[in-house]
């Protein structure tokens, strides 16, 4: 019973394996964030909350989106071996990310008075922004490590770590693209 089937290439390239792992991780995380969104709709329906600051929401969202762009540039630079440009854009991304976190922190400070955790909206707000901010902060830590290593030229031959960190950063941004309207607009 020897049939002729398509045969896998003997050894899958490391980069493919790594990418597969990363994407499965994103898929898994997507389930977490979908669960959080579902929780939000189950508790709040489609209620709009007036107390959130539309200005801050808009500003931090734009900043996060901008940081996705700078992250992309860093990845491109890394893959073409341009460590100076890569480092520059990683810096920018870090800075923008930090501003985003600061924005969320400011919102939190406001929230403690306007809609504390003991209210329906507050509960949802702290869950969504909290879990998301946790991911942003871990992303910032990754980016900082990447920045340090990129400057020292450790990614000149293998830009995978940069790619992974940047993809993660994009992922966290995409999550916010869904969270932002669910918190501020609907």
């Amino acid at each position: 019973m020897t049939d002729h089937a398509t045969q896998l290439p003997h050894v899958t390239p490391r980069i493919t394996i790594n990418r597969a792992g990363l994407w499965l991780f994103f898929l898994s995380e997507t389930m977490l964030f979908s669960g959080i969104l579902a929780t939000r709709f189950s508790l709040l329906g489609t209620e709009v909350h007036e107390d959130v600051s539309q200005t801050i929401g808009l500003v931090i969202t734009s900043i996060l989106l901008a940081s996705s762009y700078t992250a992309l540039r860093a990845e491109h630079a890394a893959s073409s071996g341009d460590r100076a440009t890569c480092a520059k854009y990683l810096w920018l991304t870090l800075a923008l990310g930090a501003v985003f976190v600061a924005g969320v922190a400011y919102e939190w400070a406001e929230a403690f008075d306007a809609f504390p955790a003991s209210t329906e909206f507050g509960t949802v707000f702290f869950l969504m922004t909290g879990v998301h901010a946790f991911h942003v902060i871990t992303g910032l830590i990754f980016l900082a490590i990447l920045l340090n290593n990129a400057r020292l030229g450790r990614y000149d031959d293998d830009a995978w770590p940069v790619e992974a960190g940047v993809k993660y950063w994009h992922f966290v941004d995409v999550v916010w693209v869904f969270f932002y309207p669910a918190l501020y607009l609907i």
């Binding site: 394996i17 792992g21 499965l24 898994s28 669960g35 508790l43 509960t123 490590i145």
Partner: protein, 608 residues
């Protein structure tokens, strides 16, 4: 010692995290120290500290900071206490750890049966009873979810597909080393007086329970992390690391079962994390997810919990199905009957398992309109599950049957799961479930499927692969004694529970009405009988590992790849990358060769 470093790291992490939490709390104007909030917040830090200390730092993370990683030097037995990245070491670590947890949880069950032996409260009060019951359920669920996948998914799957290791060996080690914190949290919970919510931890009761409940949440959360990491690793391994010629339709059915299990695991486990997180927030951060007075919803917890925990029951059973079919084919010396239908069944169960969760909530007060769709979807799962039986029966038919110990366990799975599955169909019928929900009928149902199916499968796999893993044979005679003792004890314990349930005994009670006493006495006797059967197993397991006769490479005459290499396998598994030529079920076909293991002339030793 790395474990020591891990403990120190964990303690340091806890201190740092606790400091941070206390700073936040006092700056928010509260009392700095409050054990629950501080511990909840510090847990992630403690986890990170533990992982870094136990080996992540030395062997891995130093590299991120441009330092050289330490050379790995442990050899021999010490590897099992180290951050070893060999999938075979990790498989054994999982097996031993979870067998240990199984025996602990079993001893709790013995205590429960002791208390329930007679009417009235004899041994423990209702409070302790609830704690013991909850710990028993929780630990057993952990065993059922993680033991088979962790032990044999790790040990056997890479070899079966012709790989030299998992796709991410370091992550693999990390997913194992996330388990000791689970044990620590469970112990802490026990020492803190336990919790009285059952393994399901329904809110709002769980929000109000003592500090032990917090540790339950943290333990479940941590096990979830470990499962997700491990599952991603398995999926990537199966997708990308198969040897040349190992196409999807040539994969052993056990690999398929673990693959599908891992998919379920990395997708759904996030929800248990979310459920636990929300309870912890309600307990410590003043949120109101489950507090109806402030607009929260108790039913929300149940939805999120069962959205994970129903698929989790298939995480518990699918590996056992895979093992059963593998063993039935090996010990009938026949190809697996209806291979594609078996694969289809696994995929069908996987897809349906996402849409049946509310059958645990028929009486919960959820919208009436949801009952019918969930009744229907639950009943539909019988169809793919039935296909597993179809394949097993088709393989048995005309088989040349050898009643080796693993085969006995496989037959045990088929018998027990048949009863468990059919009684599941009863429970899915809403009118019947309304009466039987939260009675011993349910308790009997899930022991039949988890213990009778999943755990029998785990023991079958242990007997089957023990020679491969240790290079030694287990005593056949003791194995047979264990099987029959366990099989009889199991049925004697859990069959009467169906009757108890129908007679109106509800679960999670330390005391019951007097007319149920004789049946409960019988159940307890059966339980003790069942419990002692494991003494034989333990003796056989330990003695054979230390002293058993050397095992040949392929004692069972099986064709899958792991049996074509020496016992125990060498570090890199194969001397040359295997070339797979056909599926591993070529029994009765003398021309069939599963794989060429000596492509570049290297010789592998195989004796029968």
């Amino acid at each position: 010692m790395n474990i020591l470093r891990g403990l120190v790291g964990g303690a340091l992490g806890y201190v740092v995290g606790a400091g941070l939490m206390m700073a936040i709390r006092s700056s928010a104007g509260g009392r700095a120290w409050e054990v629950e909030s501080v511990t909840a917040g510090a847990w992630l830090f403690a986890l990170s500290g533990w992982l870094l200390g136990v080996g992540v730092w030395r062997y891995w993370a130093r590299g991120w900071f441009g330092r050289d990683v330490a050379p790995y030097t442990a050899t021999g037995g010490r590897r099992y206490l180290d951050f070893d990245t060999d999938h075979k070491v990790i498989g054994i670590q999982y097996l031993v750890t979870f067998l240990g947890m199984f025996f602990m949880a079993g001893l709790f069950a013995m205590l429960m049966r002791w208390e329930l032996m007679g009417n009235g409260e004899d041994i423990v009060g209702p409070d302790q009873y609830n704690s013991i019951m909850s710990l028993h359920g929780t630990m057993m669920v952990f065993v059922a979810v993680a033991a088979t996948v962790g032990a044999f998914g790790n040990y056997v799957v890479p070899i079966m597909i012709g790989a030299d290791d998992m796709a991410f060996p370091k992550l693999n080690a990390m997913s194992y080393w996330l388990v000791p914190p689970v044990l620590i949290a469970l112990t802490a919970s026990f020492l803190a007086g336990g919790y009285d919510t059952g393994w399901t931890g329904y809110a709002p009761l769980s929000v109000q329970s003592d500090v032990g409940g917090l540790f339950f949440n943290l333990a479940f959360f941590t096990l979830g992390l470990s499962s997700i990491v491990g599952a991603i690793n398995i999926v990537v391994t199966v997708v990308t690391m198969r040897a040349e010629g190992m196409t999807w339709t040539r994969m052993p059915i056990f690999v398929w079962s673990i693959f599908v299990t891992a998919i379920l695991s990395f997708i759904f486990t996030q929800f248990i994390g979310l459920a636990m997180l929300m309870v912890v927030l309600d307990r410590t951060a003043g949120t109101i997810f489950f507090d109806p007075a402030a607009g929260g919803s108790p039913l929300l917890y149940q939805h999120v919990f069962w959205f994970y925990s129903h698929p989790a029951v298939y995480i518990m059973i699918l590996p056992a199905f895979g093992i059963t079919l593998e063993l039935v084919s090996t010990f009938t010396r026949k190809p697996l009957f209806g291979y594609k239908w078996a694969v289809g069944a696994l995929l069908g169960i996987m897809s349906l398992s996402a849409v049946v969760w509310a059958h645990h909530m028929f009486t919960s007060g959820m919208a009436e309109a949801l009952r019918k769709p969930f009744l229907a979807s639950t009943e539909l799962i019988s169809i793919p599950t039935g296909l597993i039986f179809l394949c097993a029966l088709g393989t048995l038919w005309l088989g040349k049957i050898r009643f080796e110990v693993p085969m006995l366990f496989a037959l045990g799975v088929l018998f027990n799961f048949l009863i468990g599955g059919i009684t599941g169909v009863f429970l899915a019928d809403v009118p019947v479930d309304i009466q039987l929900q939260d009675t011993y009928f349910v308790v009997a149902h899930f022991h039949y499927v988890i213990l009778g199916g999943g755990i029998f499968g785990l023991f079958g796999a242990t007997y089957y692969w023990f020679p491969k893993m240790t290079g030694r044979s287990m005593s056949d005679r003791l194995g047979k004694v264990h099987f029959w003792w366990m099989m009889i004890g199991f049925n004697a314990t859990f069959l009467p529970m169906f009757i108890l349930g129908m007679q109106g005994m509800n679960r999670r009670v330390a005391d019951y009405s007097p007319d149920l006493e004789s049946a409960n006495f019988a159940v307890s006797m059966g339980g003790f009988f069942l419990g002692t059967s494991f003494v034989i197993f333990l003796f056989n397991f330990i003695w054979s590992w230390a002293r058993g006769p050397a095992a040949p490479a392929d004692p069972w005459g099986s064709l899958t790849l792991e049996w074509q290499i020496p016992s125990p396998p060498p570090h890199e598994n194969f001397t040359s990358p295997p070339l797979v030529l056909s599926d591993p079920y070529g029994y009765g076909d003398p021309d069939s060769v599963h794989a060429d293991l000596a492509r570049d002339g290297a010789k592998t030793v195989v004796e029968k």
